[in-house]
Every structure is written in structure tokens, then in C-alpha cells.
């Protein structure tokens, strides 16, 4: 990879431009009608570059990035599946790109149908009874879900429910969303086998509990086998069960959160339904509800009918339409039979890698996993080669690093999620490289500790950057 970090302004040459415009025959006029205060004192400093300058500049910059389109990206808890390009083609259709949210409804019935179809498909995939597609991202969906929980209790005149229970293995967003929503967060422990400790949960459940948030499978990639009992216990004390949809991928087509007893859930369309990841959006975090909460979804809503007890507004318009459209395109492209295979293939890929590597990486909980699993660093820790070092060394071999130091249950967490879109050959290549790194850690630890060696940016001083960040040039 070529190192390239120029600004386009550095390429600028006086008088150079991208194309030659013919004389328009009108001569030059100045905008004297504009008040002086609004007129420019000097010409704008735009880069003066030719078309090849521009194309090379951005192409070189793009090659400095690593994405799913570049290589394998086993980032745990993030479901970095390949996003089919057909999603982009559908989302670029002019009939969709040229609509405006303030157009009369009668002129955008096609878009209404997109909303309706996607929310229907999400209902049938998750087993919930209705969906709102309004939230603009997963975190927004999570907040909306908790606001729905609060709204539900208030509607029932139940003002004493201020606690939300969160397992110690939860995604950090769970306690954060609950706290932002004004709840008190109470942690429940995991058992040694990585699942929620039901005995630890029981004494926490009383009339002050608004609900419990869970991810199933949990962040260790393990199915919460006690989910039925947990749902029963939470419901018996009058609480609601919340499903964090971050780990939905392995369940798709196999089991449904709605059938497990979840009352509210949010989905991250960018994970399970192949819409663009990261970069601050645009995202989409649809929220589903069970029959119990019927009629309380946010407004505006023109595809689910009247929301009699609506919680109010959480967005100006109906979500990020382009993202919703991509998710629908993905579901339709796969079709019912193939959607059913998603979860099983994601699970198979993860278990395959786990089994092939567990002799050289520490596997703290050895049982069948779902879409992801967690190693606690290298098995042989005698050379003090850490999870960070292994992750950095992977970059040298052209793989993106897995999620590291999460979940917090172990000191050297290395969380691997291959997704269903990778071939056996890619998984084998990754396994080979991980085994090579384990060998290198034993034979030449200093080389691993100083990795990466082949990337344009080597190992930045993260500590120094966090302690003394330089925020201004």
C-alpha cells in the first residue's frame, strides 16, 4: 500500500482547471446589486487541479482505508457482512432519490409501500407485532425503546419503576441508554458458563424494576438458554424485557426474539440487514414492540395506522429512508428461503474458526457459540504478547483486526465474528494467519510486539494521544 496523505490544496497549480468552458458570449458581469457587505473581498481559495489530479487524489486516499470491500473484517459484535451492491443500485433509483419528505402523501405511495413492506418483514423475522422505522441509528433506537418502556409504565400509572437491569456482559450502550433515559442501572452477574445468573437476578426483581435489557446471543456469542425463565421472571414482577438487536444475525430464520418473550427490541440495520456501516451514519435503528405495547409507537407514522397512545416524536420525519430501502432490497434479494439460512451460516463460520484455533488461543468458555466467540488472548502468554499485539500483527497480513478488550469479562478479550458472507477459503486463510501469529509470538515476540510493519501508519502512541491529544493544528 502506498502512503498518501496529501491535501487536495497541496496539488493546486495556478491557472489549472478540470475542463475548458467555451466562451458563453455574455462577457463578464459583476453582481453590483448585492450589498457590499455580502460581496467577496477576494476570490475563494479553491484548489486549481485537473481531472486526473482529482481522480488520483481521491483514489489514493481511498486505498488508505480498509473495508469489507478490501478484505476480511472479523470485527466481533459488529456483523461486518458484505453489503451487496444491488442495495446501492436500488437506493439510487431516481424515483426514490428525488422525493421530498414534505411532498403530499398521495405522490409518494411507493415509498409508503417500502416502509410498510420492511416493517412487515421485520415483524415476521423477529416475531414482534409492530415496528417503527423512525430512529436514525441503533443508539437512537435503543433510546426510543427505553422511552417506550418508560411510556408504558407511565400509561399504566406505574411511577415507581426506575430500575433497568443489565447483565455484566452487556454492550456498553445498554447502561448508557438506560441512564440517558433517566433509569437507574442495576447489574446482574454472569455464571461461569457466560450466561445470565438467574439466581443472582431473582432478588433484584421487584416493583421498582422497569425492565431488563438483554442481548441474545450475548456478547460472548452464547445463546441465553435460560431466556424463557428470565422472561417469565421479569414479566411476573411487572417489568418489560428489552432485546438489543446487535446480535440478531445468528437467530435470523431460526428463532425469534418475540417468541422468547421480548417486549421491545431495536435492530441495527447496518449489521443484520447489510446497510452501510460507520462513519457516523446515516444509520437506521428500527424499534419493534409486542402486542402489549400496541399503539404506543412514535409519530409520524403513516404505515402502521393510528398510534392511539403514541409516545410522541423522536424524529422530524420517518427515519433515514435510503437506509430503510437498502435493507428492504437486501431482504427481497435473498428471498424467504435464503433469509432462513443467514443465521445458520453465520453460526457455522464462527464455530469453524473457534474449533480450528482453540489449541493456540485461550478459549475461556468452550461450548457451541453462535455468530461470534471470545478468546482470552494467546494460550501461551509466557512472552507477554498481548491481544493488542496479535490484532496489530493481523494488519500486516491484510486482515482487519477483531474486536479487542471487549467484553470486559476477560483481560485479553479477542472477539471474532466472521459473518455468513465469507467463503471457506477466506476462513482457512484467516485461521492459517492466526496460527502463524501464535507461532511468531513464541519464536519472535519482539517482532509481534512492534507490529504492524507493512501498513502505511505503524503503531500510533495511543496512550500519548489519549493523555495529551493535539486537537488543533
Amino acid at each position: 500500500m502506498k502512503y498518501y496523505d496529501k491535501l487536495i490544496f497541496e496539488l493546486s497549480q495556478n491557472g489549472r482547471c478540470g475542463c475548458s468552458l467555451p466562451d458563453n458570449g455574455f462577457g463578464e458581469t459583476s453582481c453590483t446589486e448585492l450589498p457590499t457587505a455580502l460581496q467577496r473581498a477576494q476570490a475563494p481559495e479553491l484548489p486549481q487541479v485537473s481531472e486526473p489530479d482529482v481522480v488520483r487524489h481521491y483514489t489514493n486516499l481511498s486505498s488508505m482505508n480498509f473495508g469489507v470491500d478490501t478484505g476480511f473484517y472479523p470485527l466481533g459484535s459488529c456483523t461486518m457482512k458484505y453489503n451487496p451492491k444491488i442495495n446501492e443500485e436500488i437506493a439510487a433509483l431516481p424515483g426514490f432519490t428525488s422525493v421530498h419528505p414534505l411532498q403530499p402523501l398521495s405522490t409518494v405511495m411507493g415509498c409508503v409501500q417500502v416502509y410498510k413492506e420492511l416493517s412487515d418483514y421485520l415483524c415476521s423475522i423477529t416475531g414482534m407485532s409492530a415496528f417503527t422505522l423512525n430512529p436514525f441509528a441503533g443508539a437512537h433506537g435503543e433510546l426510543t425503546g427505553l422511552m417506550l418502556m418508560k411510556h408504558y409504565h407511565l400509561l399504566h400509572g406505574d411511577v415507581s419503576r426506575r430500575k433497568v437491569i443489565v447483565p455484566d456482559s452487556a454492550h456498553g450502550t445498554n447502561p448508557a441508554s438506560a441512564a440517558v433515559c433517566g433509569f437507574e442501572v442495576v447489574q446482574v452477574k454472569s455464571r461461569p458458563d457466560g450466561r445470565v445468573d438467574v439466581e443472582d437476578l431473582k432478588p433484584l426483581l421487584d416493583e421498582t424494576v422497569a425492565g431488563m435489557m438483554m442481548t441474545n446471543p450475548n456478547t460472548l456469542g452464547l445463546f441465553e438458554t435460560g431466556i424463557r425463565e428470565i422472561a417469565q421472571l421479569v414479566h411476573d414482577c411487572g417489568g418489560l424485557l428489552y432485546y438489543d438487536g446487535a446480535n440478531l444475525n445468528p437467530l435470523i430464520g431460526v428463532v425469534r426474539p418475540g417468541d422468547m418473550g421480548f417486549d421491545i427490541l431495536h435492530l441495527n440495520l447496518h449489521k443484520s440487514f447489510s446497510t452501510p456501516h460507520g462513519g457516523g451514519g446515516p444509520g437506521a435503528g428500527p424499534v419493534g414492540i409486542s402486542e402489549k405495547l400496541k399503539g404506543s409507537l412514535p409519530q409520524p407514522d403513516f404505515y402502521c395506522g393510528e398510534q392511539e397512545f403514541s409516545m410522541g416524536r423522536i424524529s422530524g420525519f420517518q427515519g433515514n429512508f435510503g437506509v430503510i430501502l437498502r435493507a428492504l432490497a437486501y431482504i427481497l434479494m435473498l428471498g424467504r428461503e435464503n433469509v432462513k439460512l443467514l443465521g445458520s451460516y453465520a453460526t457455522l463460520s464462527a464455530n469453524y474458526i473457534k474449533v480450528c484455533l482453540k489449541d493456540c488461543y485461550e478459549l475461556p468458555i468452550d461450548s457451541v457459540c453462535k455468530h461470534e466467540f471470545v478468546f482470552d488472548g494467546l494460550k501461551d502468554k509466557s512472552n507477554e504478547v498481548t491481544t493488542l499485539d496479535v490484532a496489530k500483527r493481523l494488519l500486516d497480513y491484510g486482515f482487519h483486526a477483531p474486536t479487542i478488550y471487549f467484553p470486559l469479562l476477560f483481560h485479553q478479550s479477542l472477539m471474532i465474528e466472521p459473518t455468513e458472507t465469507e467463503s471457506r477459503q477466506t476462513l482457512d486463510e484467516f485461521i492459517k494467519v492466526m496460527r502463524t501469529i501464535a507461532e511468531e509470538a513464541a519464536t519472535s515476540p519482539d517482532m509481534v510486539k512492534s507490529a504492524p510493519h507493512n501498513t502505511p501508519v505503524r503503531r500510533p502512541d495511543e496512550t500519548q494521544a489519549a493523555r495529551h491529544p493535539i486537537l488543533k493544528a
Partner: protein, 125 residues
Amino acid sequence: MAKLIEGLKYSESHEWVKVEGEIALIGITDYAQHALGNITYVDMPSEDDEVFAGEEFGAVESTKIASDLFSPVSGVVTEVNSALEDAPELINEDAYANWIIKVKMSDPSELETLLDPAAYEAICK
């Protein structure tokens, strides 16, 4: 193996307490600093703030993680270690020489519920 110091009291949440009369010096253990990795920020209370045994009084952030600090004893904060504001790495260098807060204890009997070095070492295994 993480360092332990005789004569200090330890909490299950990895804080240490050194008693000087009615004042308790509170810091985090060597085991904790090792597990956290390079510490980048220490969030401390203000002087005269009240702290309660078992409750959060601040947080430490490292390049890996942000972790809450729990006070092993109840009382009033008499001093915070302002050197940590600019040099949080002092805790990595010597976790026991760099206390985080000093607390004037309201109930010294709480010390009896804390762990001795051997008992603390056992929970770190």
C-alpha cells in the same frame, strides 16, 4: 505477579486503603493498574465531597477501558491528588505510592470489612 503491600487494606473492587490516624488514603492496586493498562485520565471528586463505602467516587480511564472507582470507606474527601491530573501515568509507575484521594473517615469500623493482602491476593487468582 502483581505487587502487594503489607499493612494496607484492600477492597474486592481493587482499591487499597492506607490508614493514617482518622485519614484514609485511597488508591488502586497494582493488579488493577496492570489490568487497566496505560491510564490516560483519573476522574476525581472535589475536596469536601462526601463518599460512601461501596459507592462510586470517580473513575479511571485507560486506552482499553473506563472503570469506576468505589470508595472502600465512608467520609469526607480532604484532599485529591492533583498530580494525577497532568500525570495519570504515575499510577502505572507505582500504584501504591500514588494515592487518589484522602478521606476523613466517618466510620472507621468499615475498615474491618476490607481484605488483608492474603485474602485480596486470593481473589485476584
